[in-house]
Symmetry: C2
Subunit: 406 residues, 2 copies
């Protein structure tokens, strides 16, 4: 059994780095707050006797030796960055839970056959730089490190510049740390476990993601003197797209969602009809065929709206992550650990994307979910209980022991 | 006849203060660029022998003596501030046209019976600070100067601070300069004169304006893991409001417009459902009953949308300007001047608000319109011809001479 109080303490100690007035965390990837939590994490890893390295994209790796160093390490961990108005658990539980596993094994003097490597992946959230799960995507070869290093945030700062500014452009090449498999603990970020009174979600699959950058070019003109029929209003166009996206997602049933999270009017003024808007779209489904249908429906509908309103709408697919089907053996290991420990559990699909989904494309991976209050995440009010967090970490530890061998 | 080349030269010389790459002007009220054009204007007024004063809200007044100084001056002028992506003519033609009238009278050695006062009103555009036509509104008593001085821009800078920062908080109390009447020359900012091939618009009325500040409070949550039916999406709410506003304006016929020009998502992120949006609304009609109906329909519809989507929407009416009916005698004077000079003309309603609309509430006022290309305004592509600008200025001069007496 892990030390529930120590885990809880770590979570709340690090929550000070970017703490918000509403009890959440604002710790954008590669920001000053991110540097603070990274420094804390490095020190904690070193104190736990781990061999710590940082790769060229800033991901932190802490290796615990195994008896058989020819075996690839069992990877565990998650991320420590947050949304602009994020919570204290998303990613953090999985990273500090991994640290807690190491501390517990150390205290108990348990050696494993295979080594264990705990990881803090850079930019999982995708809020400052797209795509999300950026570093693990590069790790599995979905993007080249150079491509990722050149990605820009809204201020034009590149990933490379941001890494340098906090001193976290590591000296190890991306992929230097081989892993044999990866298990990630995370809050569910959805309402199912809580609603069904289950403690552990055995994650067997994850939704695919489509991310788009969009730009609408209408025509700025005077709000008072431009008759309604002569307008080429970029905001009215966006409004139709937002509602169309909502209708399309609903049409494809419970297994699809669609969101426009960002929309910025260029040079806004009360009495000017918006002429130009940049926006983003996020569409998901656990079913690849539905993802294709979402993409098709969106493009057709947007083209119709643009033609009718005589505006230009450009849509650029910047990220496509297919649905994830986790490794059956690892899923069974998680399920077994939950059962052995006496926690109630159920199989579950992840609505959110996770680093484990990327890793699953080149190695066996799986995830452990615990409930979060009202299914709320990406919100400062995000909450989870100490017993649930401890339960998830215990399941993580027992899964690791089963895979790594004692 | 005014000096067309000199007028054109003034317009293009001052267009350098805030010139944009696309040939427009970005000269927000009380900005550094606004200071530059104000300094230019003061110098030009002094060189034309005018007695220049600045009031507590920064409006510039240049007085040309008349034979009978007991008579209240005939006021002419407009504004030199622009939209964020504005043109070279909106307001500028009327202000520099007024200067050109003075220069022409000086050159011709013409004395008038009543004095003439040319004015550059502060913040006509209403883009940086609300309401529009701010200084003339205070001049006629619609707002107290203290109220106006405390208005804030989006950065939190007050009008008072902005005035001080460019050294244009004048020593004269608002209203110190009495005027007997006011005539304003302006580009039409709409398509009618050009379409009908008329040179002069004799403005007999102006649309009323409703300005609202709005705020939507939904709930931030995860774009991937929040099912569509559980969302309280602020942007989807705004989208319904935008389209409802469009439908309501259209329903009330050609004599109504409605625009949402500003909308800002708080803490936007690609994978977060927008939780909070601040926005503005601008509704207009030349018919007071239609204005009331617009307000009523909007409030009802917004309440319905908010209830259905389980979000809060606050709507705050920050400005209500009733429709304007200009002074019949002054309208006739403008019409007569156009006829005498041989320009084609027609009566017209102003779609935009103007300082003359404010002044009309306490003194006789009227306006002269000239065509602008494709009716485009509040756009960097705004354009007008030199002959039309000269024609309008000639009509302004002859109207002034008729009122002031030679
Ligand atoms: N787990 C999580 O919130 N990841 C962020 C990436 C996404 O799914 O949008
Ligand atoms: N003339 C003009 O564009 N005024 C700005 C105020 C408004 O009508 O919105």
């Amino acid at each position: 059994q892990i030390d529930s109080a120590r885990l809880w303490g770590s979570i709340h100690e690090t929550a000070q780095f970017g703490a918000t007035a509403k009890g959440g965390v604002r710790r954008l990837t590669l920001s000053g707050e991110d540097k603070q939590v990274r420094d804390w994490f490095r020190k904690a890893c070193e104190e736990a006797g781990l061999d710590v390295h940082v790769d060229a994209l800033g991901s932190q790796f802490g290796l615990r030796k195994g008896r058989d160093m020819s075996k690839p390490p069992v990877g565990i961990g998650s991320h420590l960055d947050t949304q602009p108005t994020g919570g204290k658990y998303d990613g953090i539980l999985g990273t500090l839970g991994a640290l807690e596993v190491i501390r517990t094994l150390n205290d108990a003097g348990i050696e494993t056959e295979a080594p264990i490597c705990i990881v803090n992946w850079t930019n999982e959230e995708g809020s400052r730089f797209a795509p999300a799960m950026m570093a693990s995507a590069a790790y599995v070869g979905d993007f080249t490190p150079d491509d990722i290093l050149s990605r820009k945030d809204i201020e034009g700062t590149t990933v490379g510049q941001a890494l340098d500014s906090i001193g976290y452009r590591g000296d190890k090449p991306v992929g230097f740390q081989k892993l044999g498999c990866f298990v990630e603990l995370h809050i569910e970020q959805g309402p199912i476990l809580e609603a069904e009174g289950k403690t552990i979600g055995v994650v067997d699959s994850g939704q695919g993601v489509l991310w788009y950058d969009g730009k609408i070019s209408g025509f700025e003109s005077h709000a008072g003197s431009t008759p309604m029929p002569l307008r080429r209003d970029a905001l009215a166009t966006l409004s139709e797209i937002v509602l169309a996206m909502e209708a399309i997602a609903r049409k494809h049933g419970p297994n699809a969602v669609g969101t426009i999270g960002e929309a910025v009017i260029a040079n806004p003024s009360r009495n000017v009809i918006p002429g130009e808007i940049a926006f983003t779209m996020d569409c998901r489904s656990a079913d690849g065929a539905i993802m294709d249908a979402l993409d098709r429906d969106l493009r057709t509908t947007i083209a119709e709206i643009a033609a009718r309103r005589k505006v230009e709408v450009e849509i650029d697919l910047v990220w496509r992550k297919p649905p994830t089907h986790f490794d059956p053996k690892l899923i069974a290991a998680v399920e077994n650990a939950a059962k052995t420990l006496g926690y109630s559990s159920r199989r579950i699909t992840s609505g959110a994307g996770h680093d484990a989904c990327n890793l699953n494309t080149i190695m066996p991976a799986a995830m452990v979910f615990v409930p979060c209050k009202d299914g709320i995440s990406h919100n400062e009010l995000e909450d989870a209980t100490q017993p649930d967090c401890a339960a998830g970490t215990n399941v993580l530890m027992h899964t690791v022991l089963a895979i790594a061998g004692v």
